[in-house]
Amino acid sequence: MDLKEKLLSSFIAFEERIDVNSDLHNVRTEALKNFENKGFPTKKEEAWKYTSLNAVLKNDFSVFPKEDSAINYPDVKKYFLHEIDTFKLVFIDGVFSSFLSSTTHDGQDICLMSSALTKPKYKEVIDTYFNKIANTDDSLTSLNTAFASEGAFINIPKSKIADKPIEIMYFSTGNEAALMVQPRNLIIVGENAQVQIIERHQSLNGNPVLTNSVTEIFAQESSIVDYYKIQNDVLTANLVDNTYIAQKGKSNASVHTFSFGGNITRNNLNFYHQGERIESTLKGITLIGDKQLVDHYTLVRHATPNCESHQNYKGIFDGNATGVFNGKIYVEKEAQKTDAFQQNNNILISEKATINAKPQLEIFADDVKCSHGCTVGQLDESAMFYMQSRGIPKKEAKALLMYAFSNEVIESIKIPELKARITKLIASKLGVNIGFDL
């Protein structure tokens, strides 16, 4: 039985565990129908032209995780930003781990999607926000919606600044021979509220994993949301991340994606503007080798006047790695005075590495400032010689140059400890032991 059939037939078993007499269930069955019609995306679709899931889908994935996997904090401490105090939402093989988590309902809800989806007191919130900006046309998003049951639920009320950064962690233990998980996150950031979130998916062994994640973020008037995704997984881990962000007027939302590892990593990042004077920031550093693939598929939909969006993606590709950057900026007729900027710079370290870059601008307003730039290059030889002539060995000079190349993105990380962590990760990826800043 192939994975699609397996998923479709397991929906009946899934229904036994949930309330089938709810509006939510209608949403699920609609979503399942869409997945059934469309199936998994293939390379025949323009949006998946460069990324094939075929080989990954051949694994015999378990789709319902076991409930009894446990891990000890000391074994996974290194994956957390342990230098500072944070809220933690930790999931092991898709199941919430209260033992490793640190949640709250005090002045802000930082808790579980499973509670939000089932408890009556959250019904109104779920009715208002759940699946409201996720693309119901997209087959993988639909698949997630059909089975959505666990993940992070974050609701920061009006004028509240979240007390601490929030870490959302998805571990897979390898207790299953091959595991498919579908986390679903819902994040609502109220008027004038602020929050910082770090999300990470981490496999703790070498068994195949497929994560199909959906995150919906609602940034209300004048709110500030900073979201950081750390993708530094093992070579058997695959991730499709579907993130949807709706922004109201004067809000400021940023997503930084650090893609340093994994087999196939696909990021579908979508911003929708629903008010004036919005600022959106999409930044990323991709640093991969071997046969890894990282595919960034971004969309910023400018629908309202006087808004800004800034995209800056840096990619460094070694070995047989493949990078894809497809950045779409859509400016509707009403969105006058839009300022949309997109930059995508790539360095190919090896002759066998590939980058496919495609900016797409669709502009229907006439008074806008839109720019995009894409570069593909090798390391600057003259800079290498300059550094070497000062006594910096080739490997370190290369690392310093690559660090400098990604610095624009690192600089805008607002959590200092996270900035230090990312810097360290880059150094270790490049195999050097040098401090990049003084």
Partner: protein, 248 residues
């Protein structure tokens, strides 16, 4: 200190150096002059180990050791320093961070511990004062947006930090106004000692008023065609390079 024997080098099938012989002793300043295209910058690049140039014959010895096959960083660790004619801009790497990495890599290669942070800061303060460099300048990205003069002053600052045995100054005077030239030359002169040597590569005699050479060599067509004392520089200035061309 430096001994170059019968050095031939080329870049992309084009022979540029055609048999250079040069002896530089500790404590000496040598000037290498010559018209454009005579091979001056190639010579400095080849001594520093630029891999874009292929050494086809001859050897370079530093304190008796053949460094012809050494990587640029190994030569730097042995005490070779090249002040670039066109210093490279490296966005995202601060001057301070660059210097710290360079010094510690050299120390590591020479079996020394990393320099403690306070010592490093003291050294930076001392050397930046020598070159009259504003401290704010040091946290800026290396050479990025620096004026021509700032770049050159920064090169000599790096030289001061690294304290090389052999410093090669490639057209350090180009792009400098008279005040900057004085500061740079003053810096170089203060760094001179019995134990190090300087090679000044220049098109004009002007810099040699400030950094006074013990020997002047004229490079033409990839060969040293004339050598003499500092008066040779004046003679060249007076007669022009046509004088050399007509004789060769």
């Amino acid at each position: 200190m430096l001994s170059i024997k019968n050095l031939h080098a080329r870049v992309e099938d084009k022979d540029i150096l055609r048999g250079i012989n040069l002896e530089v002793k500790a404590g000496e300043v040598h000037a290498i002059m010559g018209p454009n295209g005579s091979g001056k910058s190639t010579l400095s690049s080849v001594i520093a180990g630029n891999e874009n140039y292929e050494v086809t014959d001859g050897n370079i010895y530093l304190e008796g050791e053949d460094i012809s096959e050494f990587a640029p960083e190994e030569r730097a660790h042995k005490g070779v320093f090249l002040s670039f004619q066109y210093p490279v801009e490296i966005p995202g790497v601060s001057v301070t961070n660059f210097m710290r990495t360079a010094i510690n890599e050299s120390r590591k290669a020479n079996g020394l511990e990393e320099m403690p942070a306070n010592e490093m800061l003291k050294l930076i303060r001392e050397k930046s004062e020598l070159l009259e460099i504003d401290r704010k300048f040091l946290s800026r990205s290396l050479n990025e947006g620096f004026s021509g003069g700032e770049k050159k002053r920064n090169e000599i600052f790096q030289m001061a930090m690294l304290e090389p045995k052999l410093a090669i100054l490639d057209e350090t005077d180009s792009g400098l106004d008279i005040d900057a030239l004085r500061i740079v030359a003053n810096g170089v002169n203060k760094l001179r000692s019995e134990n190090n040597a300087v090679i000044v590569i220049t098109h004009y005699q002007r810099l040699l008023d400030y950094i006074v050479p013990d020997f002047v060599h004229v490079l033409y067509n990839g060969k040293i065609v004339k050598s003499g004392g500092k008066e040779l520089a004046y003679e060249l200035e007076e007669k022009g390079y046509d004088w050399i061309r007509s004789e060769n």
